[in-house]
């Protein structure tokens, strides 16, 4: 079982420090709440990647460790370091108001992958074989993530994949100029090496029935993603020259499409629309526009993506709602209607309303409809389905109405991001393992450890964010000989510089109010209003700090308290405290293995 070179048992935590008496694991809801508020990047990550830890590892030039800390939860650091939607960066404390710009968390991840030494130091512990088997339908991010976890939890895993290569949307839905295939293949291989068997070219429901699988395996997990392109539902959608977005990208990826018209209109506001547009340019289109109902601000892609697309010459036509696709036989253009924004939905999505009598026409010879995807219906088989024939399941337990049949990933939730799919896959795996064995294998806990002051230098706080270098001038991206990855990656020096910017929010600073003499030396030396004169500390229902009630009235000052949600972990307060009443601890949210209780 250990033949493939994995360490038999490794520490699950990401620390280089040994476990010792000063280490504590907590499952107190207040501590989880603390992590959510105070380590905002980690809690913004659907997979809960321990971001400060991997950035710190990279700072220490431990590229391999940095990579593995990522890999524990997000499995494909080299891939996600390129194409992740980066919800963490939106929450990075360095991006708060006066502090500058977020740390380039994503690209540091890529640097860890780029510069790690060959070989693997596998950090997750493996569990003894359970003798049970699971079948997974689909080898996309959710399926692979579930397979990975089930394998290390001791299950025999078999994946059925309809395509000829594994990876699902990663391989077929993302163009190679954003994600080189060799990197993807290597990272998929690292998952499969756990002893997972992969059956390619098998279309479940067509080549083999779900019932058969249900009979052969202890459990079946459907993770077949969203491959059904959504339709505009307007006249003319069947004209020649009108393509569904996802199919277009997949066809190009598979090498079926080699040319396109000159004037291309793409409708849609997500990554697929952008991928289609940029692919169109690479296939020879001269004039490409992305048409959206709302504004640029509502686009569901990263800022970099918009910038690069515009650099390549793509235009964005806002406030334009497609009414019909025009043409006789072949597409000739789209008739749009102007829209007007109305109140946002409660979920924050912009809503628009067409304006009466505002129709206008834009000419085109190609139209790509990239407005989203949906799961494909399953033909026959067990389990409750919706009216389209899509298998239904509980979003929390992943269970369908048929015992032993589970659903995860985008198939369950509708289109999301890669990182969400991975998280979903892992959670489903945990659930299946629990259902099959009746035991819990791992639990999330807050690991608390006394810590020394860090070596962060104050001057690091004002380092500018290093943006991802891209291939410029733009024309160099269109050299025909080979695919050019547009983002060229950090140098190791750049990555190291950028890693200095992380505040290391996993450090917790605290004043012992019983020892404090209220001299305010810490406040005097604080870099911002992170230490407060406090009248009262209000708690939320979990018992975590909800609010520090500040006061300027000296008579009301009951305590001097460090607001960890404002703290940038510069360490100045610890250095100056006259009575040594400030302590530092390292707090990390991570999964730890649960040892099975022996019945003595």
């Amino acid at each position: 079982m250990m033949a493939n070179g994995f360490a038999p048992e490794g520490p699950i935590n990401s620390n280089t420090e040994p476990e010792g008496p000063n280490v504590l694991y907590s499952t107190d809801p207040a501590d989880f709440r603390y992590m959510t508020v105070n380590v905002p990047c980690q809690s913004a990550c659907p997979a809960l990647t321990n971001i400060p830890a991997y950035i710190r590892a990279l700072y220490e030039s431990k590229f391999g460790l940095s990579y593995e800390i990522n890999r524990i939860v997000n499995l494909f650091p080299g891939t996600l370091g390129r194409i992740c939607s980066r919800p963490c960066e939106l929450k990075c404390r360095h991006g708060e108001s006066e502090l500058g710009n977020p740390v380039n968390i994503c690209h540091i991840k890529r640097a860890a992958a780029d510069f790690r030494p060959p070989g693997h130091t596998y950090l997750s512990p493996r569990f003894a074989p359970s003798g049970k088997s699971v079948c997974i339908v689909g080898s996309g991010p959710a399926g692979l993530a579930a397979a990975h976890d089930l394998a290390i939890l001791g299950f025999d895993v078999t994946i059925y994949e309809a395509c000829h290569e594994p990876g699902g949307m990663l391989r077929y839905g993302i163009p190679d100029f954003r994600l080189p295939r060799d990197i993807l293949s290597e990272e998929i291989q690292n998952v499969l090496r756990l002893g997972i068997s992969l059956k390619l070219g098998v279309n479940v429901g067509v080549d083999i029935s779900l019932e058969t699988l249900m009979a052969d395996f202890g459990a079946v997990l459907v993770a077949s993603g969203c491959y059904e392109s959504m339709k505009l539902d307007v006249p003319g959608e069947n004209l020649a020259g009108v393509y569904p977005g996802l199919e277009y990208v997949m066809d190009v990826a598979a090498g079926y499409k080699e040319s396109i018209g000159k004037k291309v209109l793409v409708t849609g506001a997500g990554f697929t629309a952008f991928d289609c547009s940029r692919l169109a340019l690479r296939l020879g289109a001269e004039d490409v526009s992305i048409c959206i109902r709302g504004f640029e601000e509502d686009l569901r892609v990263t800022h970099d993506e918009i910038l690069e697309a515009k650099r390549e010459g793509i235009k964005i036509r806002s406030l334009s709602l497609s009414k019909q696709i025009l043409g006789s036989g072949k597409v000739e253009g789209i008739e749009f209607q102007r829209t007007r924004p109305i109140e946002r939905t409660s979920g924050g999505r912009r809503r628009v309303q067409p304006i009466e009598g505002s129709e206008f026409v834009v000419e085109a010879d190609t139209v790509i409809v990239a407005i989203g995807q949906a799961p494909r219906p399953l033909k026959g088989g067990p389990g409750e389905k919706n009216d389209r024939g899509v298998l239904l399941a509980d979003r929390k337990t992943f269970q369908s109405s048929t015992p032993g049949l589970y659903v995860t990933g985008d198939y369950l939730t509708g289109p999301t991001t890669v990182i969400e799919a991975i998280a979903s896959g892992r959670r489903a795996a945990e659930r299946i393992a629990q259902d099959l064995t009746g035991r819990k294998f791992r639990e999330w806990a807050v690991r608390i450890q006394d810590f020394r002051i860090t070596d962060r230098d104050r001057s690091w706080d004002v380092l500018p964010r290093i943006e991802m270098p891209t291939v410029l001038p733009v024309k160099d991206r269109f050299l025909n000989e080979e695919v050019v990855e547009v983002e060229s990656g950090y140098s190791s020096e750049q990555a190291h510089e950028e890693s200095k910017r992380c505040y290391l929010c996993y450090l917790h600073y605290e004043i012992d109010v019983a020892k404090c003499i209220y001299c305010r030396y810490c406040i005097d030396n604080a870099p911002r209003d992170c230490i407060k004169l406090v009248k009262q500390v209000l708690l939320d229902e979990t018992g975590a700090v909800k609010e520090l009630v500040e006061t300027t009235n000296w008579l009301d000052v009951n305590a001097v308290v460090i607001d960890n949600s404002r703290c940038i972990r510069c360490g100045e307060c610890v250095r100056v405290c006259p009575v040594d009443c400030i302590s530092v601890s390292k707090v990390e949210l991570l999964e730890r293995p649960l040892v099975q209780e022996s019945k003595a």
Partner: protein, 338 residues
Amino acid sequence: MSVKRFVIIGNGPAANHAAKALREKSSESRITIFSKDPFRSYSAHLLPDFIAGLIKEEDLYNRSYAHYNEMDMNLRLGQRVVSVDFSKRNVILDHKEVVQFDGLIVATGGKPRIPEQFQLFQDIMLTLKTPLDARMWVEKLRNVESVLIIGGDLTSLSLTKALLKLDKRVKFILNEDSFWPVPLNEEIYRAVTDRLEQRGVEIVHCQRIRRITQLEENLLEVETDREILETGVLGAFFGLVPDVGFLARTGLDIDRGILVDEFLKTRFANVYAAGDCAQVYHPALRDYWVSIGHENATALGRIAALNLAGSHFEVRVEPENILEVGGVKVNTSWWTEF
């Protein structure tokens, strides 16, 4: 009643007329005007005259500091607003000052547009929007003889007039952004090129520009899909875009400009936008329009202010007033000025 605090962002014609109207309507209120530029309100249409040496820089400015003191307005020049918090009702300045408001008028006007594909070269291209830009042109023109203009908009045409007066050699690369905001069509293209050529301007025909390289301080090399050109200075004239980047993700509706209703009101109570940064839907155009020009701006500024002060004036603009250059006929009317 407590004193109202009005904040106006911008110091162009719309902003200044808004301020004036606000003061007329409420003598007690506190009016603060923020301008990111360090200079006073100026007449943009005179910039080419200044470059041509016909007027002095001082003549560009159309309001004295004393004026603001008399009107009891707090004019804050060179202070950039970087964000607005509409829930807390304050504006946040670049230097991290936070200023509360009861009413807000955004009148930031436009800024020169540089299409993304040219942004790499923007440091070596000159634009013309402010007196500072004009000073740079004056400085540059002392040492160069030839000027290449890419794009071509109304400003570039009046600049060309000034350049010809200064005996400079002028080349034009016209593209579809020429005559912004008018879409280019064959007819206009021909009329314009004929006229330009008559005046001794050389028209360069090409599809796209591949590369721009600075060879020496006053020598640039421009590679098009057809040829390689040399020029002393390069002007980029792709029209203006509303200067509203700082309002991104504040909750305002921003497309090209700030979307407002026919009363110039934004989504938020007591927040208005006026002038070149506002975008209003016009039924006859089947499109939103962004106002341009001094006349429009002053009128819009005034309407926004009066509405903020409690009135209910609707913006009524005839299509031909918006696009004065909309048809060939109108087009030649301004063209004859050249």
